[in-house]
């Protein structure tokens, strides 16, 4: 089992190395990403005009971000009109304090949580426990992780790094009984345990897939029903949302609903799409008495102001993870932060810091599969390149920069270029076996670790052009 499963870390190379050697993890990742990617393709293919709908969704997000302050104010007004409360959390610390305060003021003792990556981002559980509350994750995968003391490794299937045997071990320890490693038995055990929690909880905490400014509606997209239970049984509901989750009108919501499930798994819709508009109404038998919306900044305004604003268009579907050949081979924990995969390679340097995460923007072959799978066509490769550029502003002149500068100079002077080619040929030619090299020195060793490298041809194309040109004249 992966050492990096338990904590945030910055040892990307070490984590990658461990992941590549972890055979059960490799098998699990191939199965997961293969299945979900097939779903993603099927989902888009089955949706009329999916390409144009994705463009439309992107335009809605671009517009919203360009007017975010207005929409946040409208959202607040809509929520307050319904009897809900809105709280503004500038930082993770503020958000924790706000939620702990809500719990205290409403005398809450036991909290149940529906899956929320935003709550992971602010390290909420620890703060609630410190304040004396019992906190239970209710998404089955997240529950297993909570018991095991680990972090999620995928947006949609957080416990993908586990096998049925490891889940059986974790749950057996928790219940104090020897459970069989059959998925059905284990899942139903989870159901039994968590049903008790739903029954006894007085505080339900969720994230928000979307928040509609026009109506004050918070939308939850789940397959298990834990999102519904979290917002039906407890007395108090707190929805924590990143401020970029707001969308303008109710009519915009189905655009995203049609794309989200299809992009994530290929389903037409997830099993439960829940639209929550305020606390329970008079005469209703269930539902929370109090509704609180906590709007979180935590670095998003800084991203909004800069050249990486597009990353805020993300609707957290996980399609880019499933499409990424790098994620497929290293899994989520290696990325070190809350968000993994291609979008995580951008968000972690931006939310945490670029200097703390120097490798993430480079751990990509820029293949573009992420952008092709993304429901809002986020240009992830371009932003990864943008982050690589930002990194160079930190270090003014390294030998690498000088090398690239020299290389660029040679390329702009054709005579120098031809000379350099001849020089390379002279140097490498004698070392080659049948035109290929088995070992390159220095940084090139990374290449020859896995493959041979070709030696420059004895006659370049431009040498041969003279003959081709002559032929043309004939």
């Amino acid at each position: 089992m992966n050492d990096y499963a338990r904590h945030e870390h910055h040892d990307f190379p070490g984590a990658v190395h461990q992941a590549l050697a972890d055979e059960p993890l490799q098998a699990a990742l191939v199965r997961l990403t293969g299945t979900l990617m097939a779903g993603n393709r099927r989902g888009y293919a089955a949706l009329a005009d999916s390409d144009r709908l994705r463009d439309h969704a992107k335009q809605i997000k671009e517009h919203t971000l360009a007017h975010l302050d207005n929409y946040l104010e409208q959202l607040e007004a809509s929520v307050v009109k319904l009897g809900g409360k809105v709280h503004w959390a500038a930082s993770a610390e503020d958000a924790r304090a706000i939620i702990v305060d809500i719990a205290r003021q409403s005398s809450c003792k036991r909290a149940v949580k529906s899956k929320s990556m935003t709550s992971e981002e602010i390290h909420l559980n620890r703060a609630l426990e410190k304040a004396g509350l019992e906190v239970t994750e209710t998404d089955f995968g997240e529950f297993i992780l909570q018991v095991a003391g680990e972090r999620p490794s995928h947006l949609v299937a957080p416990a993908v790094h586990h096998t049925r045997e490891s889940v059986a071990r974790v749950l057996s320890k928790y219940v104090g009984d020897d459970l069989p490693d059959d998925p059905k038995t284990l899942a139903l055990t989870g159901r039994r345990i968590l049903r008790q929690e739903f029954h006894q909880a007085d505080l339900g905490i969720t994230g928000a897939n979307f928040a509609v400014a026009e109506t004050g509606t918070v939308v939850l997209v789940t397959n298990e029903g834990n999102g519904r239970l979290t917002t039906t049984c407890p007395r108090v509901h707190v929805a924590l949302m990143g401020m970029e989750k707001v969308i303008p009108r109710l009519a915009d919501l189905p655009v995203f609903l049609k794309l989200l499930a299809r992009a994530a798994t290929g389903q037409t819709l997830s099993v439960y799409t829940t639209l929550i508009t305020g606390p329970r109404r008079p005469g209703e038998l269930d539902g929370p008495e109090e509704f609180h919306l906590v709007i979180l900044d935590n670095g998003r305004s800084r991203i909004l102001a800069g050249p990486f604003r597009e990353s805020l268009e993300c609707i957290r579907c996980g399609a880019c993870l499933n499409a990424c050949p790098v994620y497929r081979r290293i899994g989520g924990h290696a990325y070190g932060g809350v968000y993994s995969g291609p979008i995580g390679s951008i968000l972690t340097p931006l939310y945490d810091s670029v200097s703390n995460n120097p490798e993430l923007p480079h751990a990509s072959s820029l293949c573009g599969a992420c952008q092709a799978a993304c429901p809002v066509k986020i240009n992830i490769p371009r932003m990864l390149i943008g982050l690589r550029e930002v990194q160079h502003h930190h270090r003014t002149s390294t030998w690498e920069h000088l090398a690239y500068k020299l290389w660029s100079l040679v390329l702009r002077k054709p005579r120098l270029y031809r000379l350099a080619l001849r020089f390379a040929r002279m140097l490498l030619g004698p070392l080659a076996d049948d035109g290929w090299l088995k070992r390159l020195p220095g940084p090139g060793a990374g290449w020859t670790h896995a493959r041979d490298f070709p030696v420059p041809a004895s006659r370049s194309f431009r040498d041969r052009w003279r003959e081709l040109y002559a032929k043309k004249e004939k």
Binding site: A28, H56, H63, L68, L72, G141, H162, L250, P254, R302
Partner: protein, 231 residues
């Protein structure tokens, strides 16, 4: 400056700083893009999508057939405690009497009080409700929370029976949201027209968290039957 004002001020400044001169981002019109509809037979479309999601569907021609089917399902699932909703359709079917006459324990939602309601919800073996709409394109049930239709009825009992009529079928998800705006005829603004909880249900609850093996019934109902009245 309050924390609210500071927050919004920071966002305002960020919006201005990041917006590029001369580039406008209007809120686009959808112009029908992405509308699929349900083809010539919405019921057929619904059946395909609903069953693909793991739901069960029974087509019935009259009230007697519906009552017989309910009884049949109750016996199949070996149910003792039945939670019955107060949807007008259920009332016209007179299910309460029908079931009680056969010695089954029926708890009517309208007899419950907020203070004691969670226990019967957790104790029930089956929940029988109506629906507000069905969406053919996605294979979904649409349920609005209301005093006579609590959220729990389609959520807590492990089996859910939803009784619907063909005329409740809506072709496409986009149509539902158009319909939702029609509620505003009764109420002043759209905001007060949405219920406190509107749920789209697309099949039984499921999880694939262990090795991607699908297990139903964690945590919502693992079996959902739609009884579709054709009358």
């Amino acid at each position: 400056m309050t924390s609210r004002e500071a927050f919004l001020d920071r966002v305002r400044k960020a919006v201005a700083a990041g917006n590029r001169a001369g580039i406008v981002h209007p809120l686009p019109d959808r112009n029908g893009v992405g509308y699929q509809g349900a083809g010539s037979d919405p019921l057929e479309r619904f059946e395909i999508e609903w069953k693909a999601a793991g739901g069960q569907l029974h087509l019935l021609h009259d009230a007697d057939a519906a009552r017989a089917k309910v009884l049949d399902l109750i016996q199949t699932h070996q149910v003792r405690k039945i939670l019955l909703g107060s949807d007008p359709l259920l009332t016209t079917l007179d299910l309460q009497q029908f079931l009680q006459q056969r010695g089954l324990e029926v708890i009517k939602v309208q007899d419950l009080e907020a203070a004691t309601s969670p226990e019967p919800f957790f104790a029930a073996d089956i929940g029988i409700s109506g629906v507000d709409f069905l969406i053919a394109e996605t294979g979904s049930l649409v349920m609005r929370s209301a005093p006579n239709q609590p959220r729990s009825i389609s959520l807590l009992p492990p089996v859910h029976i939803a009784i619907a009529e063909r005329r409740q079928l809506v072709p496409d998800l986009f149509d539902l949201f158009h319909k939702t705006s029609e509620f505003s005829q009764d109420f002043g603004s759209l905001a007060s027209a949405l219920p406190s909880c509107l749920t789209l249900i697309t099949g039984p609850s499921k999880t694939g968290d262990i090795e991607l093996r699908l297990v139903t019934g964690v945590h919502g109902p693992g079996t959902v039957h739609v009884l579709m009245l054709d009358s």
